[in-house]
């Protein structure tokens, strides 16, 4: 489904700030894989997701989505295949536009946009149903501006938008990190539900080890631009936070350092 072959990404090449954020990373996600991605600060997790999404061009390597080489496709062209939710709740929605307008934008992802109405009557009914399934009362506020919503509501809406057209890959980058614990749990629960119902191939970054262990069928860990652990199946089910830390130490020769991970 997603095949990343030997991709490298260097920031600020040739300057004193040069940074090898991804160093010949290989990764294959099979259809229906739900992979959690964990790693220390600056390990390259967000960079990996951004390279897959086409936010950054890569220096070397190839990216296939659904068997198609997308390495040279621009971000907006890949968008039809990819659903994304970001860490910052402000980032995934247009705050000056209505809830229904945001959904309508997402509904046309990957499609040609013409001079037809930006939102139709049938769509509204469809959105109302979907929103009520979130259980946040948003179904009665279709025309409200998204800027009025809380961070949790916005992340739930962004999640709905990311999956409105079934994405070939769903990329979640610490999408609950900016939320309070209770809200984070609710959004994670919704994510699980969407992923399961749609059998979505998912790559989810988290800084929370418990979440990384509890969710998904496969866990990978990054360190300094490399994937250093890839644990799946039975083995993943057996994981505990302690033995994950230990395995990280063995694989990287360092102690696990993520300021946010230690806090949670």
């Amino acid at each position: 489904m997603l095949k990343v072959q030997a991709i490298s990404k260097r920031f600020n090449p040739g300057t004193i700030n040069e940074k090898m954020a991804l160093d010949r990373v290989d990764l294959t996600l099979d259809e229906g894989d739900f992979v959690t991605l964990i790693g220390g600060n600056g390990a390259g997790k967000s960079t990996l997701l951004n390279c897959v999404a086409g936010v950054y061009g890569i220096d070397e390597g190839t990216i296939f989505i659904d068997g198609k080489d997308v390495t040279r496709l621009s971000e907006f062209k890949r968008a039809g295949m990819i659903g994304r939710v970001f860490q910052d709740p402000m980032m995934g929605t247009a705050s000056d536009m209505g809830i229904e307008e945001n959904l309508a934008l997402a509904y046309r992802r990957g499609q040609f946009r013409s001079l037809r109405w930006g939102i139709t009557h049938d769509e509204r009914n469809h959105y109302r149903e979907l929103l009520s399934s979130l259980g946040l009362g948003l179904e009665n506020r279709l025309s409200n501006k998204v800027g009025l919503l809380s961070g949790g509501q916005r992340q739930a809406l962004t999640l709905l938008m990311a999956t409105l057209i079934r994405p070939r890959i769903l990329l979640l980058d610490e999408h609950t990190a900016a939320l309070d614990p209770k809200t984070a749990d609710k959004v994670l629960e919704l994510s699980d539900q969407f992923i399961e119902e749609g059998k979505l191939t998912t790559l989810m970054v988290t800084h929370n080890m418990r979440h990384a262990i509890k969710h998904g069928n496969r866990l990978i860990m990054m360190h300094e631009g490399h994937i250093i652990l890839d644990i799946r199946g039975e083995e993943k089910q057996q994981l505990t936070v302690e033995n994950l830390m230990e395995r990280f130490g063995k694989a990287s020769g360092e102690e696990f350092a993520n300021d946010r991970a230690l806090l949670s």
Binding site: F76, K77, A79, G80, M97, I119, L149
Partner: protein, 297 residues
């Protein structure tokens, strides 16, 4: 006094066309586009030159509109394809247009006295020119408001709004943000040039200098409209722009009548806009404890 206010209304209507153009870049695309200073004069220059050359005034006005769209296209390409910051792209186009406009007209100003203009047609219905300007101006403004109201509700229009609001999100939703910015700049500058063409014909001359400070006048009108007439929904916003442009002209007519020297106009306008734009700062300064309107999940 009544005559002065009537003049302010007619001038305001013509400037409303320009104000809507400024609104598209400044509020919808979130770009301060200075190329409009060149486009408004270009519209005037193209219309005047072609009318003097014997072209049908409506066609000449159409040519002006088209010229403005080309100017917007150039700013858009400089900004999106060549990655020049928006402000600088606009300045480059504005400066370049100054020379272009001089070339179009062949000199710094062109008189349209005793020439047929778009208003002549309306005058033939038995009206004095001042009234003809109001009738035609109102007609043009209402049509444009209608078209824009429709356009920004379409899929492409929504994509332009999303691009201005959150380009990152827009790209994630598959929107070609570069093209949307270019399209917005094209529409905006087309309208500004159209406004220039209508203004030149109403005042019976085109002047290469007439764009100077126009961006500030446009912004002043946008802000006056928003503050006085509201921004509840898009239709309300569009009407506010028109009323804002007219109000701006009335204010100017009033202060001039109260004895302010005409030479101080630009200083006055700039100060008004500076104060209006800084209002949010003063407001937050006065209300530091205002609770946020956010809700929990």
């Amino acid at each position: 006094m009544g005559q002065i206010m009537l003049g302010a209304v007619s001038l305001g209507l013509l400037w409303a066309v320009m104000t809507i153009g400024v609104y598209i870049t400044y509020r919808i695309l979130n770009i301060a586009d200075l190329s409009v200073e060149g486009s408004i004069a270009m519209g005037a220059a193209l219309a005047a030159h072609n009318i003097v050359g014997g072209m049908n005034p409506f066609l000449a006005t159409g040519v002006a509109f088209f010229g403005g769209m080309v100017a917007g296209l150039i700013t858009g390409i400089l900004h999106t394809r060549l990655k020049i910051p928006a402000l600088l792209s606009g300045i480059l186009t504005m400066i370049a247009l100054y020379s272009v406009n001089l070339r179009i007209m062949g000199k710094a100003n062109l008189s349209l006295l005793r020439m047929d203009t778009v208003y002549s047609t309306v005058e033939q219905l038995g009206m004095v020119k001042n009234h003809a300007v109001i009738v035609l101006g109102l007609f043009v403004v209402l049509i444009l408001v209608g078209i824009l109201y429709w356009f920004f509700g379409t899929e492409i229009g929504c994509a332009i709004r999303a691009t201005g609001n959150n380009p990152q999100m827009a790209r994630a939703q598959g929107i070609n943000t570069d093209n949307m910015i270019i399209l917005g700049l094209i529409i905006s500058n087309g309208m500004v040039a159209l406004s220039g063409a209508l203004i030149a014909q109403s005042q019976s001359f085109a002047d290469v200098q007439m764009g100077i400070g126009s961006i500030v006048i446009g912004l002043a009108s946008v802000i006056i409209g928003e503050v006085l007439f509201g921004k509840r929904n898009f239709f309300n916003r569009l009407l506010s722009l028109v009323l804002g442009a007219i109000t701006y002209r009335m204010i100017i007519a009033l202060v001039l009548r109260m004895g302010m020297p005409a030479n101080d106009l630009k200083l006055f306008t700039a100060m008004t806009v500076a104060v209006a734009l800084s209002l949010p700062v003063f407001r937050s300064f006065l209300k530091p404890l205002k609770k946020s309107g956010k809700e929990v999940i």
